[in-house]
């Protein structure tokens, strides 16, 4: 994909709006979002609403001796105070394992764990009342080192080990001519959504409740909430509002439980909009990870064996950690052919902030480590790092260490070749005056050109698409056509990846209808599952396509029968139906004859299986790959790093919306730069330090490199609808490793920790 073909796609239809698959159709809500009229959950309002606030634990680990809500309840304006005693249904919830209490009862397991909730007639009153709840603690020594978690007393009745995968593949006695070892640490990245969590709950006359929030999997969240309320799921409805940024599972739903309880208790609508600080404390983060690696290779640089020990810090509750571990262990060797592997992965409980789903979880951490190992191996063998990688790349038909055969396209060599051949960015002195050079540290920073060294680094990486290990992936969609307008009803939440736009494109393509609307989402519709890992492009997109095709058949069948031809010989474009020979020509409106056509369809990809007791199994539906070359400037005295350029080649299957794809890749690379350089939520003995966006440094426009997409390999994945692959996650996984490799080449330092601290990028010369 180049600038020119993107431009062509935009202007390809003379005089018309871009439409259909492969065109840069803009999202329907872009204007509302730009103008500030797009409603997010924090903007919701209801007549006479109350405001909620949550009392959160100030300690990472403590025994609760008593909770005194009397003073808070007596404050003027306070309408309800709830604790664990007021949860009528299940006391615990959780996305995969119900091990997380709604309100802590006798034990606090992380800093910020909810203990009580308050509803009051003013947000400040609610906040003051929540602060007035007196909790007596016996503070305990927190377990914050995941390595110590194995030995320490259980932090939870379910034990400290959430999952262990001992992967054994091939002959584990093999020893290579060359062996390199490394220890790597990955920090705690926060999803830092632009909009902090918010929700509105409204009680229903039938004793149920409706929750309006930015949920990314409304049906699952409804089931969790209903279980906690002690209600049948039909009496709980989640209405999805605008999602203000989601890089994982948003935590809005866990707010929905206390909020729903407050609404049912007070009998009126209750709203919550958390502060940035609460947002940092409450939602799941990227798993901090410790990785120990040993790579064996022959003297030619062919990989023989990978040994790895991977330890994920799961925080206090299981959440989706088991899945993150499966990805980490399965991709521990990366997109390389490795005949033998001994990989042990653990995810354990600690009293650190919660960990959970966060783009590329598991895959990102191991990518930084195995690519560090590849650099180390290249250095040992005296080989060019890109050349060493080229000698080992995976291709279709090769085996993963899980024993799964890679059946989807795996153009890893082509991707690496593309980034290797791309021209390097010019050096500043070739570009013009020194004053125009953006040094590490910024335009008015302390950078000194004489201390700046440039480095180039490569990384390859992979992610899986959809859920793994036997997750039932299914989505249901309905397409309706009336007159000139088509409507898509599908509970796939648009959290940024562009599903809503894609759904419109699919219907435009299949039915030739220009005006396509995507209906708003609530849990009265059939479920479509969670987003992430290209799920909605694949599963929900597939369901929309099927439903649209069914409508098409319903529309064309009578015409085809009348003229004695099959429906395949008829085509629809620009609202007109024409036959292959041009004899028949009519409009869609005429063919509809005032009727409304509906069709509902499901898409369910082929099943997967769980990893067995030696980490073997066909656990993944599909894989996506990318190659990244990062160019950095490092001030080797201050250790400040600026990423100058990221060149990326990605395996995308098929480009469905060029502009949207570019946006997703740019967003992924930008997040990857944050992972590599600045994003780490600091914790001291389990207590979160400075939970704000001043201390937690996200990349700004000045930190974002030039992002050059040098190649998008369009080799269709035959099992995927449209042949498209997940596009958002791979750049997040691979770019941090490439930045680390580039800093390594600029400084000669090992760089085995992300984010890269300035002291690790200082080079004594």
């Amino acid at each position: 994909m180049t600038e020119t073909s993107e431009g062509a796609a935009l202007t390809g239809i003379p005089g018309g709006e871009p439409h259909g698959l492969g065109a840069s159709v803009p999202a329907a809500d872009v204007y509302a979002k730009a103008a500030g009229t797009y409603p997010y959950a924090a903007d919701l309002w209801a007549e006479g609403l109350l405001w909620a606030s949550v009392h959160r634990a100030p300690h990472p680990r403590a025994r609760i001796l008593s909770i005194d809500t009397e003073q808070a309840a007596a404050m003027p304006g306070v309408r309800a105070v709830l604790t664990h005693e007021d949860v009528p249904g299940e006391a615990a919830h959780g996305r995969r394992v119900a091990d997380q209490p709604v309100f802590a009862r006798d034990t606090v397991r992380y800093h910020g764990e909810p203990i009580a909730a308050v509803a009051a007639d003013h947000p400040d009153t609610a906040r003051l009342a929540a602060a007035a709840i007196a909790v007596e603690y016996e503070v305990l020594e927190p377990v914050t080192d995941p390595e110590a978690s194995f030995e320490s007393e259980p932090l939870h009745p379910d034990g400290n080990l959430i999952r262990h995968i001992p992967l054994r593949y091939g002959d584990h006695e093999v020893v290579g001519d060359v062996v390199v070892e490394g220890l790597y640490r990955i920090g705690r990245q926060d999803p830092a959504p632009v909009g902090a969590e918010a929700a509105l709950a409204v009680p229903r006359p039938d004793g149920g409740v409706e929750i309006y929030t930015g949920s990314t999997d409304p049906h699952r969240d409804r089931d969790l909430a209903a279980a906690c309320f002690g209600l049948p799921p039909e009496q709980v409805k989640i209405v999805v509002t605008g999602v203000p940024g989601a890089l994982g599972d948003r935590d809005d739903a866990s707010l929905g439980v206390p909020l729903g309880l407050l609404a049912m208790r007070t009998g009126g609508p209750v709203k919550i909009a958390v502060t940035r600080e609460e947002s940092f404390l409450g939602h799941p983060h990227r798993h901090p990870t410790l990785l120990r690696y040993r790579h064996h290779a022959d003297s030619e640089g062919s990989l023989l064996k990978v040994e790895a020990q991977i330890l994920l810090d799961g925080g206090a509750y299981a959440d989706t950690s088991a899945e993150a571990l499966a990805a980490a262990v399965s991709f521990a060797a990366g997109p390389y052919v490795v005949p033998h592997a001994v990989i042990d992965g653990w995810v354990v409980r600690t009293n650190n902030p919660p960990s959970g789903h966060m783009r590329g979880e598991g895959a990102m951490q191991v990518c930084a480590a195995y690519e560090g190992q590849m650099d180390k191996l290249a250095d040992r063998l005296g080989l060019d790092p890109a050349e060493l990688r080229m000698r080992n790349v995976l291709a279709t038909g090769d085996l993963l260490p899980t024993g799964q055969t890679v059946t989807c396209p795996a153009p890893v060599a082509e991707l690496l070749g593309a980034v290797r051949e791309a021209p390097l960015p010019a050096l500043p002195k070739e570009e013009g005056p020194a004053s125009a050079w953006l040094l590490p540290g910024g335009p008015d920073g302390a950078g000194d050109p004489s201390a700046v060294r440039r480095g180039v680094g490569y990384a390859l990486g992979m992610v899986h698409m959809l859920g793994a290990e036997g997750t039932d992936e299914v989505s249901t969609a309905t397409v309706k056509v009336t007159g000139q307008v088509a409507t898509v009803l599908c509970a796939a939440v648009e959290s940024g990846p562009g599903f809503a736009t894609l759904a419109r494109q699919i219907v435009q393509e299949t039915l030739g209808v220009e005006e396509v609307h995507v209906a708003s989402i609530d849990t009265d519709q059939p479920p479509a599952g969670a987003g992430g890992r290209g799920r909605h492009t694949w599963v929900s997109g597939g369901a929309v396509e099927r439903a649209a095709k069914m409508v098409r058949t319903q529309l064309l069948q009578p015409l085809a029968a009348k003229f004695g031809m099959s429906t395949e010989l008829l085509s629809i474009a620009d609202g007109k139906i024409t036959s292959y020979d041009g004899v028949l020509s009519t409009t869609v409106t005429e063919a509809l004859d005032g009727k409304e056509l509906w069709a509902t369809a499901q898409c369910r990809p082929h099943p997967t299986e769980p990893l067995d007791e030696t980490g073997q199994g066909d656990a993944f539906v599909g894989l996506a790959f990318a190659a990244v070359r990062a160019v950095v400037d490092v001030d080797i005295e201050l250790g400040s790093v600026r990423v100058v350029e990221v060149a990326l080649a990605q395996d995308v299957g098929r480009v469905l919306n060029p502009a949207q794809l570019r946006t997703r890749i740019e967003a992924g690379v930008t997040q990857g730069v944050g992972t590599a350089l600045t994003e780490h939520l600091r914790v001291a003995k389990g207590v979160v330090r400075h939970p704000d966006l001043t201390a937690y440094a996200l990349p700004t426009a000045l930190d974002t490199p030039d992002i050059r997409i040098v190649k998008l390999v369009e080799e269709r994945d035959v099992v995927a609808p449209f042949g498209a692959k997940a596009a958002s996650t791979v750049p997040v996984v691979v770019s941090p490793a490439a930045v680390a490799a580039a800093v390594r080449s600029a400084t000669g330092r090992p760089v085995n920790r992300l984010p890269i601290r300035p002291q690790a990028a200082v080079s004594p010369e």
Binding site: L438, G441, G445, L638, T694, T700, L702, Q759
Partner: protein
């Protein structure tokens, strides 16, 4: 309350003693919005035009406390006090620089306040307006060190600092390329008339630090009547001297023997200060 003169502001504060003065509000209002501060009333200083400019007074500049960072960053101001202009340009994104004021930076007294090391290096004094027309002068370092505090009803009106007509630098090390708080910052100003070098280090301690011995030592090496250049070794030694003074080795625990080593992060901070001081002086003398 929106007074239009300093007198009115002071009177307003006297009338409502619980009121809090606010200028740009970039620190204060964030705390108010987060519910951490609940001032009974606010006295807005934004309409007091007399403190939004500057004037000259026997070799000194008298800067209004209401000068914004954006205004101080402009070239005309940079020609007067280059280091203060450089510091103002690094203070956050444009939205913050447009609102945040010099006086606010002083009164907030955050360790990372960008203008503070420059004011410390220039030995700035504050002119404070008090109740019933009272005026008093207070060295900025006394306020930052907590030797003397603002009393109830007082407002910082002006900041007075010398015009040295010589090179000055301000360098700030940060964690990212975009605007961010200082990990460490160093201001270096030359005073050719008194043949002095003055240096202050910000963000490594609760208040800017002045390495006085290092200043005197390096000033004695400079050929003030010649080209003022120094050998690279001297610049490096100055950097080390400044850094050791500001981030000293911890005292030996047993009173003798080798001092216990600093943690790696502190050693890196010391190296950063040394680099900034060396580069800052080098640029000032170049």
């Amino acid at each position: 309350m929106l007074p239009s003169t300093l007198e009115e502001a002071v009177a307003a504060l006297a009338a409502v003693p619980a009121a809090v003065p606010v200028a740009g509000g970039t620190d204060l209002m964030a705390d108010v919005n987060a519910g951490q501060l609940r001032p009974a009333a606010l006295v807005g200083l934004g309409r007091i035009s007399e403190i939004r400019g500057w004037e000259y007074q026997d070799g000194h500049a008298v800067l209004g406390a209401g000068l914004t960072h954006a205004r101080m960053g402009r070239p005309d101001f940079a020609a007067l006090i280059p280091a203060l202009a450089a510091a103002a340009r690094t203070a956050g994104p444009p939205q913050i620089r447009n609102a945040g004021t010099l006086g606010g930076n002083v009164v907030s007294a955050a360790p990372t306040g960008d203008t503070l090391p420059v004011l410390a290096a220039l030995d700035a004094t504050l002119s404070i307006a008090g109740p019933a027309g009272a005026r008093r002068e207070l060295p900025v370092s006394h306020l930052l060190a907590g030797v003397d505090m603002l009393r109830p009803g007082e407002v910082v009106g002006y900041v007075r600092l010398p015009l040295l007509h010589a090179p000055q630098t301000f360098l700030k090390a940060t964690g990212r390329t975009g605007p961010s708080r200082a990990l460490a910052s160093v201001a270096v100003v030359l005073d050719p008339v008194r043949r002095g070098v003055r240096c202050a280090v910000g963000a490594v301690a609760p208040m800017p630090l002045r390495p006085l011995e290092a200043e005197r030592w390096i000033a004695s090496l400079i050929d003030w009547d010649g080209d003022r250049g120094l050998a690279p070794e001297a610049l490096s030694a100055f950097g080390e001297y400044v850094a050791m003074a500001c981030i000293p080795d911890p005292a030996p625990e047993d009173g003798e023997g080798t001092p216990s080593a600093l943690p790696p992060a502190a050693l890196h901070l010391r190296r950063t200060v040394a680099t900034l001081a060396r580069r800052g002086l080098g640029k000032a003398l170049a």
